[in-house]
Symmetry: C2
Subunit: 243 residues, 2 copies
Protein backbone atom coordinates (compact mmCIF):
# COMPACT_ATOMS: atom_id res chain seq x y z
CA UNK A 1 0.00 0.00 0.00
CA UNK A 2 1.20 3.51 -0.72
CA UNK A 3 1.72 5.50 2.45
CA UNK A 4 0.37 8.99 3.05
CA UNK A 5 1.19 10.74 6.32
CA UNK A 6 -1.15 13.38 7.72
CA UNK A 7 0.96 15.32 10.19
CA UNK A 8 0.27 17.85 12.92
CA UNK A 9 3.38 20.02 13.06
CA UNK A 10 2.40 21.74 16.33
CA UNK A 11 2.34 25.50 16.93
CA UNK A 12 4.99 26.31 14.34
CA UNK A 13 8.51 26.13 15.74
CA UNK A 14 10.59 23.12 14.75
CA UNK A 15 11.33 22.31 18.43
CA UNK A 16 7.63 21.73 19.11
CA UNK A 17 7.30 19.00 16.48
CA UNK A 18 7.31 15.40 17.66
CA UNK A 19 10.15 13.10 16.61
CA UNK A 20 7.56 10.99 14.80
CA UNK A 21 6.46 13.97 12.70
CA UNK A 22 10.06 14.89 11.87
CA UNK A 23 10.94 11.32 10.87
CA UNK A 24 7.85 11.00 8.66
CA UNK A 25 8.72 14.23 6.87
CA UNK A 26 12.32 13.08 6.45
CA UNK A 27 11.06 9.86 4.85
CA UNK A 28 8.75 11.77 2.51
CA UNK A 29 9.52 12.82 -1.06
CA UNK A 30 6.66 15.33 -1.25
CA UNK A 31 5.39 17.64 1.51
CA UNK A 32 2.03 19.32 0.96
CA UNK A 33 0.26 22.00 2.97
CA UNK A 34 -1.20 25.44 3.25
CA UNK A 35 1.40 27.98 2.11
CA UNK A 36 2.00 29.52 5.57
CA UNK A 37 2.81 26.17 7.22
CA UNK A 38 4.97 24.93 4.37
CA UNK A 39 7.02 28.13 4.73
CA UNK A 40 7.46 27.41 8.46
CA UNK A 41 9.02 23.97 7.92
CA UNK A 42 10.75 24.30 4.53
CA UNK A 43 14.24 25.15 5.78
CA UNK A 44 14.36 22.05 8.00
CA UNK A 45 13.66 19.57 5.20
CA UNK A 46 15.98 20.39 2.30
CA UNK A 47 15.67 18.48 -0.96
CA UNK A 48 11.94 17.78 -0.64
CA UNK A 49 9.32 18.69 -3.20
CA UNK A 50 6.92 21.19 -1.59
CA UNK A 51 3.40 21.69 -2.92
CA UNK A 52 0.85 24.18 -1.60
CA UNK A 53 -2.72 25.28 -2.13
CA UNK A 54 -4.23 28.46 -0.70
CA UNK A 55 -6.87 28.71 2.06
CA UNK A 56 -10.34 27.36 1.15
CA UNK A 57 -8.79 24.95 -1.37
CA UNK A 58 -8.67 22.13 1.17
CA UNK A 59 -10.37 19.52 -1.01
CA UNK A 60 -7.94 20.27 -3.86
CA UNK A 61 -5.06 19.92 -1.39
CA UNK A 62 -6.30 16.48 -0.30
CA UNK A 63 -6.74 15.29 -3.90
CA UNK A 64 -3.24 16.57 -4.72
CA UNK A 65 -1.80 14.55 -1.81
CA UNK A 66 -3.59 11.33 -2.83
CA UNK A 67 -2.61 11.77 -6.49
CA UNK A 68 1.06 12.10 -5.52
CA UNK A 69 0.81 9.05 -3.24
CA UNK A 70 -0.94 7.10 -6.00
CA UNK A 71 2.12 7.67 -8.21
CA UNK A 72 4.08 5.72 -5.59
CA UNK A 73 5.69 8.68 -3.83
CA UNK A 74 5.95 8.92 -0.04
CA UNK A 75 3.85 11.98 0.81
CA UNK A 76 3.26 14.09 3.93
CA UNK A 77 0.26 16.37 4.25
CA UNK A 78 1.05 18.87 7.02
CA UNK A 79 -1.30 20.91 9.22
CA UNK A 80 -0.55 23.39 11.98
CA UNK A 81 -1.30 22.15 15.49
CA UNK A 82 -2.90 18.73 15.36
CA UNK A 83 -4.30 17.45 12.05
CA UNK A 84 -7.37 16.12 13.87
CA UNK A 85 -8.39 19.40 15.57
CA UNK A 86 -10.03 21.69 12.98
CA UNK A 87 -7.44 20.10 10.66
CA UNK A 88 -7.29 18.02 7.51
CA UNK A 89 -7.40 14.43 8.76
CA UNK A 90 -11.20 14.13 8.53
CA UNK A 91 -11.34 15.41 4.97
CA UNK A 92 -8.44 13.12 4.08
CA UNK A 93 -10.50 10.07 5.12
CA UNK A 94 -13.48 11.40 3.14
CA UNK A 95 -11.44 12.00 -0.03
CA UNK A 96 -9.55 8.75 0.62
CA UNK A 97 -12.53 6.53 -0.25
CA UNK A 98 -11.58 7.18 -3.89
CA UNK A 99 -8.00 5.99 -3.32
CA UNK A 100 -8.20 2.48 -1.81
CA UNK A 101 -4.56 1.86 -2.74
CA UNK A 102 -3.33 4.60 -0.38
CA UNK A 103 -3.02 4.03 3.37
CA UNK A 104 -3.30 7.00 5.72
CA UNK A 105 -1.23 7.37 8.87
CA UNK A 106 -2.19 10.24 11.15
CA UNK A 107 0.63 11.68 13.27
CA UNK A 108 -0.66 13.83 16.13
CA UNK A 109 0.83 17.16 17.19
CA UNK A 110 0.47 19.83 19.86
CA UNK A 111 -2.75 21.73 19.16
CA UNK A 112 -3.18 25.45 19.96
CA UNK A 113 -5.40 24.66 22.98
CA UNK A 114 -2.54 22.97 24.82
CA UNK A 115 0.35 24.80 23.15
CA UNK A 116 -1.10 28.18 24.09
CA UNK A 117 -2.17 26.89 27.51
CA UNK A 118 1.49 26.25 28.30
CA UNK A 119 2.24 29.90 27.51
CA UNK A 120 -0.63 31.19 29.69
CA UNK A 121 0.16 28.92 32.64
CA UNK A 122 -2.35 26.14 33.27
CA UNK A 123 -5.77 27.33 32.08
CA UNK A 124 -7.24 23.97 31.02
CA UNK A 125 -6.25 21.31 33.60
CA UNK A 126 -9.82 20.15 34.11
CA UNK A 127 -12.83 19.54 31.80
CA UNK A 128 -12.84 21.91 28.83
CA UNK A 129 -14.45 22.58 25.45
CA UNK A 130 -12.98 23.70 22.17
CA UNK A 131 -15.31 25.89 20.14
CA UNK A 132 -14.52 27.51 16.82
CA UNK A 133 -16.22 30.87 16.21
CA UNK A 134 -15.94 30.43 12.46
CA UNK A 135 -19.41 30.13 10.93
CA UNK A 136 -18.16 29.31 7.45
CA UNK A 137 -19.21 25.64 7.76
CA UNK A 138 -21.31 25.74 10.95
CA UNK A 139 -24.53 27.73 11.47
CA UNK A 140 -24.06 30.51 14.04
CA UNK A 141 -27.08 29.21 16.03
CA UNK A 142 -25.18 25.97 16.66
CA UNK A 143 -22.13 27.91 17.85
CA UNK A 144 -24.34 29.99 20.17
CA UNK A 145 -25.94 26.89 21.65
CA UNK A 146 -22.49 25.44 22.35
CA UNK A 147 -21.21 28.63 23.99
CA UNK A 148 -24.25 28.71 26.26
CA UNK A 149 -24.07 25.00 27.12
CA UNK A 150 -20.36 25.22 27.89
CA UNK A 151 -20.82 28.32 30.05
CA UNK A 152 -23.79 26.90 31.95
CA UNK A 153 -21.95 23.64 32.72
CA UNK A 154 -18.89 25.59 33.96
CA UNK A 155 -16.43 24.25 31.39
CA UNK A 156 -13.18 26.03 30.68
CA UNK A 157 -13.66 27.15 27.06
CA UNK A 158 -10.95 27.52 24.43
CA UNK A 159 -12.02 29.53 21.39
CA UNK A 160 -10.41 28.86 18.01
CA UNK A 161 -10.82 31.33 15.14
CA UNK A 162 -12.10 34.06 17.49
CA UNK A 163 -12.01 36.73 14.84
CA UNK A 164 -11.56 37.58 11.20
CA UNK A 165 -12.14 40.65 9.07
CA UNK A 166 -15.72 39.61 8.32
CA UNK A 167 -16.44 38.52 11.90
CA UNK A 168 -14.84 41.28 13.95
CA UNK A 169 -17.58 41.32 16.61
CA UNK A 170 -17.88 37.54 17.11
CA UNK A 171 -15.67 37.40 20.19
CA UNK A 172 -17.75 40.17 21.78
CA UNK A 173 -20.93 38.23 20.98
CA UNK A 174 -19.43 35.04 22.40
CA UNK A 175 -18.40 36.78 25.64
CA UNK A 176 -21.87 38.30 26.05
CA UNK A 177 -23.44 34.87 25.65
CA UNK A 178 -21.09 33.23 28.14
CA UNK A 179 -21.68 36.05 30.64
CA UNK A 180 -25.26 34.81 30.92
CA UNK A 181 -23.73 32.07 33.10
CA UNK A 182 -20.09 32.97 33.77
CA UNK A 183 -19.12 35.87 36.04
CA UNK A 184 -17.70 38.97 34.30
CA UNK A 185 -14.72 38.48 36.67
CA UNK A 186 -13.93 35.02 35.23
CA UNK A 187 -10.20 34.76 34.57
CA UNK A 188 -9.44 34.63 30.82
CA UNK A 189 -6.36 34.67 28.64
CA UNK A 190 -5.30 35.23 25.05
CA UNK A 191 -2.19 34.07 23.22
CA UNK A 192 -1.07 35.31 19.81
CA UNK A 193 1.52 33.69 17.53
CA UNK A 194 1.92 30.63 19.77
CA UNK A 195 5.42 29.20 19.37
CA UNK A 196 6.37 31.74 16.69
CA UNK A 197 8.12 35.09 16.46
CA UNK A 198 6.04 37.68 18.25
CA UNK A 199 4.43 35.24 20.71
CA UNK A 200 2.43 37.31 23.18
CA UNK A 201 -0.01 36.57 25.98
CA UNK A 202 -2.33 38.47 28.28
CA UNK A 203 -4.41 37.43 31.28
CA UNK A 204 -7.58 39.47 31.88
CA UNK A 205 -11.15 39.06 33.10
CA UNK A 206 -14.11 38.14 30.92
CA UNK A 207 -15.60 41.64 30.77
CA UNK A 208 -12.22 42.99 29.60
CA UNK A 209 -11.91 40.20 27.04
CA UNK A 210 -15.31 41.25 25.69
CA UNK A 211 -13.86 44.62 24.71
CA UNK A 212 -10.52 43.32 23.46
CA UNK A 213 -9.76 43.19 19.75
CA UNK A 214 -8.03 40.00 18.66
CA UNK A 215 -6.81 38.88 15.26
CA UNK A 216 -6.94 35.53 13.46
CA UNK A 217 -3.58 34.49 14.93
CA UNK A 218 -4.98 34.63 18.47
CA UNK A 219 -6.47 31.82 20.56
CA UNK A 220 -8.67 32.59 23.57
CA UNK A 221 -9.20 30.77 26.90
CA UNK A 222 -12.14 31.46 29.23
CA UNK A 223 -11.76 29.97 32.71
CA UNK A 224 -14.23 28.04 34.83
CA UNK A 225 -15.57 29.29 38.19
CA UNK A 226 -12.40 28.08 39.97
CA UNK A 227 -9.80 29.54 37.59
CA UNK A 228 -7.51 32.11 39.19
CA UNK A 229 -4.59 34.35 38.38
CA UNK A 230 -1.33 33.38 40.09
CA UNK A 231 1.64 35.71 39.50
CA UNK A 232 0.26 36.84 36.16
CA UNK A 233 -0.50 33.30 34.95
CA UNK A 234 -3.95 31.75 34.34
CA UNK A 235 -4.37 28.65 36.51
CA UNK A 236 -7.31 26.24 36.85
CA UNK A 237 -7.29 23.88 39.83
CA UNK A 238 -7.61 20.14 39.15
CA UNK A 239 -11.00 19.86 40.81
CA UNK A 240 -13.55 21.27 43.19
CA UNK A 241 -12.28 19.57 46.34
CA UNK A 242 -8.94 19.71 48.12
CA UNK A 243 -7.52 16.32 49.01
Amino acid sequence: MNKLYVIGIGPGEYEQMTLKAIHAMEKSEVIIGYTVYVDLVKEHFPGKEFLTTPMKKEVDRCVMAFEEAKKGKVVSMICSGDAGVYGMSGLMYEVGVNYPEVELEIIPGVTAATGGAAVLGAPLIHDFCLISLSDLLTPWEKIEARLLAAAEADFVVCLYNPSSRKRSDYLQKACDLMMQYKSPETVCGIVSYIGRDGEHYEVMDLKTLRDTKVDMFTTVWVGNSQTKEINGKMVTPRGYRNV
Copy 2:
Protein backbone atom coordinates in the same frame (compact mmCIF):
# COMPACT_ATOMS: atom_id res chain seq x y z
CA MET B 1 16.20 32.18 38.58
CA ASN B 2 16.28 28.42 38.98
CA LYS B 3 14.52 26.67 36.13
CA LEU B 4 11.94 23.95 36.57
CA TYR B 5 10.44 22.33 33.46
CA VAL B 6 6.96 20.80 33.55
CA ILE B 7 6.83 18.48 30.57
CA GLY B 8 4.11 16.62 28.73
CA ILE B 9 5.79 13.51 27.35
CA GLY B 10 2.86 12.56 25.09
CA PRO B 11 1.20 9.13 24.95
CA GLY B 12 4.27 7.19 26.05
CA GLU B 13 6.53 6.24 23.16
CA TYR B 14 9.75 8.24 22.78
CA GLU B 15 8.92 9.07 19.13
CA GLN B 16 5.80 10.96 20.21
CA MET B 17 7.73 13.39 22.43
CA THR B 18 8.47 16.84 21.03
CA LEU B 19 12.06 17.88 20.43
CA LYS B 20 11.57 20.60 23.05
CA ALA B 21 10.59 18.03 25.68
CA ILE B 22 13.56 15.82 24.81
CA HIS B 23 16.00 18.74 24.94
CA ALA B 24 14.66 19.93 28.31
CA MET B 25 15.05 16.45 29.78
CA GLU B 26 18.57 16.20 28.34
CA LYS B 27 19.44 19.51 30.05
CA SER B 28 17.98 18.33 33.38
CA GLU B 29 19.90 16.75 36.25
CA VAL B 30 16.78 15.43 37.98
CA ILE B 31 13.65 13.97 36.34
CA ILE B 32 10.59 13.55 38.56
CA GLY B 33 7.27 11.86 37.87
CA TYR B 34 4.74 9.20 38.61
CA THR B 35 6.48 5.81 38.64
CA VAL B 36 4.81 4.47 35.46
CA TYR B 37 5.91 7.46 33.33
CA VAL B 38 9.42 7.59 34.71
CA ASP B 39 9.77 3.92 33.73
CA LEU B 40 8.64 4.77 30.19
CA VAL B 41 11.36 7.37 29.60
CA LYS B 42 14.23 6.15 31.80
CA GLU B 43 16.17 4.22 29.14
CA HIS B 44 16.33 7.29 26.86
CA PHE B 45 17.94 9.59 29.43
CA PRO B 46 20.89 7.73 30.96
CA GLY B 47 22.81 9.34 33.80
CA LYS B 48 19.91 11.32 35.20
CA GLU B 49 18.66 11.18 38.75
CA PHE B 50 15.07 9.85 38.70
CA LEU B 51 12.65 10.50 41.56
CA THR B 52 9.11 9.20 41.81
CA THR B 53 6.07 9.40 44.05
CA PRO B 54 3.05 7.12 43.78
CA MET B 55 -0.47 8.07 42.59
CA LYS B 56 -2.39 10.45 44.91
CA LYS B 57 0.90 11.91 46.18
CA GLU B 58 0.80 14.73 43.64
CA VAL B 59 1.38 17.57 46.11
CA ASP B 60 4.40 15.75 47.55
CA ARG B 61 5.71 15.28 44.01
CA CYS B 62 5.43 19.02 43.32
CA VAL B 63 7.16 19.96 46.58
CA MET B 64 9.92 17.46 45.77
CA ALA B 65 10.45 19.10 42.36
CA PHE B 66 10.61 22.64 43.79
CA GLU B 67 12.96 21.55 46.59
CA GLU B 68 15.37 20.03 44.06
CA ALA B 69 15.18 23.16 41.89
CA LYS B 70 15.73 25.35 44.96
CA LYS B 71 19.05 23.54 45.52
CA GLY B 72 20.10 24.89 42.12
CA LYS B 73 19.56 21.74 40.10
CA VAL B 74 17.90 21.76 36.66
CA VAL B 75 14.73 19.73 37.17
CA SER B 76 12.06 18.26 34.90
CA MET B 77 8.66 17.22 36.22
CA ILE B 78 7.12 14.87 33.66
CA CYS B 79 3.47 13.99 33.01
CA SER B 80 1.91 11.68 30.45
CA GLY B 81 0.11 13.40 27.59
CA ASP B 82 0.09 17.15 28.15
CA ALA B 83 0.95 18.52 31.60
CA GLY B 84 -1.92 21.01 31.30
CA VAL B 85 -4.70 18.48 30.59
CA TYR B 86 -5.63 16.70 33.83
CA GLY B 87 -1.90 17.05 34.52
CA MET B 88 0.44 18.65 37.04
CA SER B 89 1.03 22.14 35.67
CA GLY B 90 -1.84 23.76 37.61
CA LEU B 91 -0.76 22.28 40.92
CA MET B 92 2.83 23.31 40.16
CA TYR B 93 1.75 26.97 39.92
CA GLU B 94 -0.22 26.61 43.16
CA VAL B 95 2.71 25.05 45.06
CA GLY B 96 5.08 27.46 43.30
CA VAL B 97 3.85 30.50 45.25
CA ASN B 98 6.09 29.24 48.07
CA TYR B 99 9.14 29.13 45.78
CA PRO B 100 9.52 32.59 44.22
CA GLU B 101 13.13 31.80 43.28
CA VAL B 102 12.06 29.03 40.90
CA GLU B 103 10.77 29.79 37.39
CA LEU B 104 8.39 27.33 35.73
CA GLU B 105 8.48 26.55 32.04
CA ILE B 106 5.63 24.42 30.73
CA ILE B 107 6.41 22.27 27.69
CA PRO B 108 3.28 20.98 25.97
CA GLY B 109 2.80 17.46 24.66
CA VAL B 110 0.33 15.34 22.72
CA THR B 111 -2.63 14.63 25.01
CA ALA B 112 -4.66 11.40 24.84
CA ALA B 113 -7.60 13.19 23.15
CA THR B 114 -5.54 13.92 20.04
CA GLY B 115 -3.06 11.04 20.34
CA GLY B 116 -5.87 8.50 20.49
CA ALA B 117 -7.87 10.39 17.87
CA ALA B 118 -5.04 9.77 15.40
CA VAL B 119 -5.37 6.03 16.07
CA LEU B 120 -9.17 6.05 15.62
CA GLY B 121 -9.12 8.15 12.44
CA ALA B 122 -10.44 11.68 12.82
CA PRO B 123 -13.10 11.67 15.57
CA LEU B 124 -12.60 15.23 16.88
CA ILE B 125 -12.05 17.59 13.91
CA HIS B 126 -14.78 19.97 15.02
CA ASP B 127 -15.91 21.40 18.40
CA PHE B 128 -15.38 18.93 21.23
CA CYS B 129 -15.35 18.57 25.02
CA LEU B 130 -13.02 16.70 27.32
CA ILE B 131 -14.75 15.32 30.39
CA SER B 132 -13.13 13.21 33.10
CA LEU B 133 -15.41 10.65 34.72
CA SER B 134 -13.30 10.62 37.88
CA ASP B 135 -15.29 12.00 40.80
CA LEU B 136 -12.35 12.00 43.20
CA LEU B 137 -12.04 15.81 43.08
CA THR B 138 -15.27 16.74 41.26
CA PRO B 139 -18.82 16.09 42.49
CA TRP B 140 -20.62 13.57 40.26
CA GLU B 141 -23.53 16.02 39.80
CA LYS B 142 -21.13 18.42 38.08
CA ILE B 143 -19.91 15.65 35.77
CA GLU B 144 -23.52 14.70 34.96
CA ALA B 145 -24.40 18.30 34.11
CA ARG B 146 -21.43 18.48 31.75
CA LEU B 147 -22.28 15.21 30.01
CA LEU B 148 -25.84 16.42 29.44
CA ALA B 149 -24.77 19.89 28.26
CA ALA B 150 -22.20 18.43 25.87
CA ALA B 151 -24.69 15.92 24.46
CA GLU B 152 -27.47 18.47 24.05
CA ALA B 153 -25.18 20.92 22.21
CA ASP B 154 -23.98 18.13 19.86
CA PHE B 155 -20.30 18.27 20.87
CA VAL B 156 -17.97 15.39 20.14
CA VAL B 157 -17.07 14.19 23.64
CA CYS B 158 -13.78 12.65 24.72
CA LEU B 159 -13.94 10.88 28.09
CA TYR B 160 -10.84 10.61 30.26
CA ASN B 161 -10.70 8.18 33.20
CA PRO B 162 -13.81 6.34 31.96
CA SER B 163 -13.44 3.57 34.51
CA SER B 164 -11.66 2.30 37.58
CA ARG B 165 -12.23 -0.55 40.00
CA LYS B 166 -14.43 1.63 42.24
CA ARG B 167 -16.30 3.22 39.32
CA SER B 168 -16.92 0.25 37.02
CA ASP B 169 -20.39 1.44 35.97
CA TYR B 170 -19.54 5.12 35.33
CA LEU B 171 -19.13 4.74 31.56
CA GLN B 172 -22.54 3.05 31.39
CA LYS B 173 -24.07 5.91 33.39
CA ALA B 174 -22.38 8.47 31.15
CA CYS B 175 -23.67 6.78 27.98
CA ASP B 176 -27.22 6.63 29.39
CA LEU B 177 -27.07 10.36 30.17
CA MET B 178 -25.75 11.27 26.72
CA MET B 179 -28.39 9.09 25.05
CA GLN B 180 -30.99 11.55 26.35
CA TYR B 181 -29.79 13.74 23.48
CA LYS B 182 -27.48 11.66 21.27
CA SER B 183 -28.78 8.84 19.08
CA PRO B 184 -27.91 5.29 20.24
CA GLU B 185 -26.44 4.92 16.72
CA THR B 186 -23.90 7.71 17.31
CA VAL B 187 -20.48 6.56 16.12
CA CYS B 188 -18.05 6.08 19.05
CA GLY B 189 -14.54 4.74 19.54
CA ILE B 190 -12.23 3.51 22.26
CA VAL B 191 -8.43 3.32 22.30
CA SER B 192 -6.37 1.45 24.88
CA TYR B 193 -2.64 1.82 25.54
CA ILE B 194 -2.28 4.74 23.10
CA GLY B 195 1.25 4.80 21.68
CA ARG B 196 2.37 1.88 23.82
CA ASP B 197 2.72 -1.90 23.51
CA GLY B 198 -0.74 -3.40 23.15
CA GLU B 199 -2.32 -0.35 21.51
CA HIS B 200 -5.82 -1.34 20.47
CA TYR B 201 -8.84 0.48 19.06
CA GLU B 202 -12.47 -0.26 18.31
CA VAL B 203 -15.20 1.72 16.55
CA MET B 204 -18.77 1.02 17.69
CA ASP B 205 -22.08 2.76 18.25
CA LEU B 206 -23.14 4.48 21.46
CA LYS B 207 -25.51 1.73 22.60
CA THR B 208 -22.71 -0.83 22.19
CA LEU B 209 -20.28 1.43 24.04
CA ARG B 210 -22.78 1.53 26.91
CA ASP B 211 -22.34 -2.21 27.41
CA THR B 212 -18.59 -2.31 26.82
CA LYS B 213 -16.19 -2.78 29.73
CA VAL B 214 -13.15 -0.53 29.58
CA ASP B 215 -10.17 -0.23 31.92
CA MET B 216 -8.24 2.77 33.23
CA PHE B 217 -5.84 2.68 30.27
CA THR B 218 -8.67 3.36 27.82
CA THR B 219 -9.87 6.69 26.42
CA VAL B 220 -13.34 7.03 24.88
CA TRP B 221 -14.68 9.21 22.04
CA VAL B 222 -18.38 9.83 21.41
CA GLY B 223 -19.16 11.41 18.04
CA ASN B 224 -21.49 14.27 17.15
CA SER B 225 -24.57 13.89 14.94
CA GLN B 226 -22.40 14.06 11.79
CA THR B 227 -19.70 11.56 12.80
CA LYS B 228 -19.50 8.50 10.56
CA GLU B 229 -17.55 5.31 10.10
CA ILE B 230 -15.36 5.22 6.99
CA ASN B 231 -13.50 1.93 6.32
CA GLY B 232 -13.47 1.07 10.02
CA LYS B 233 -12.27 4.52 11.12
CA MET B 234 -14.23 7.12 13.12
CA VAL B 235 -14.48 10.36 11.13
CA THR B 236 -16.17 13.66 11.99
CA PRO B 237 -16.71 16.13 9.13
CA ARG B 238 -15.33 19.66 9.54
CA GLY B 239 -18.75 21.28 9.66
CA TYR B 240 -22.43 21.09 8.87
CA ARG B 241 -22.25 22.52 5.35
CA ASN B 242 -20.46 21.39 2.24
CA VAL B 243 -18.55 24.15 0.50
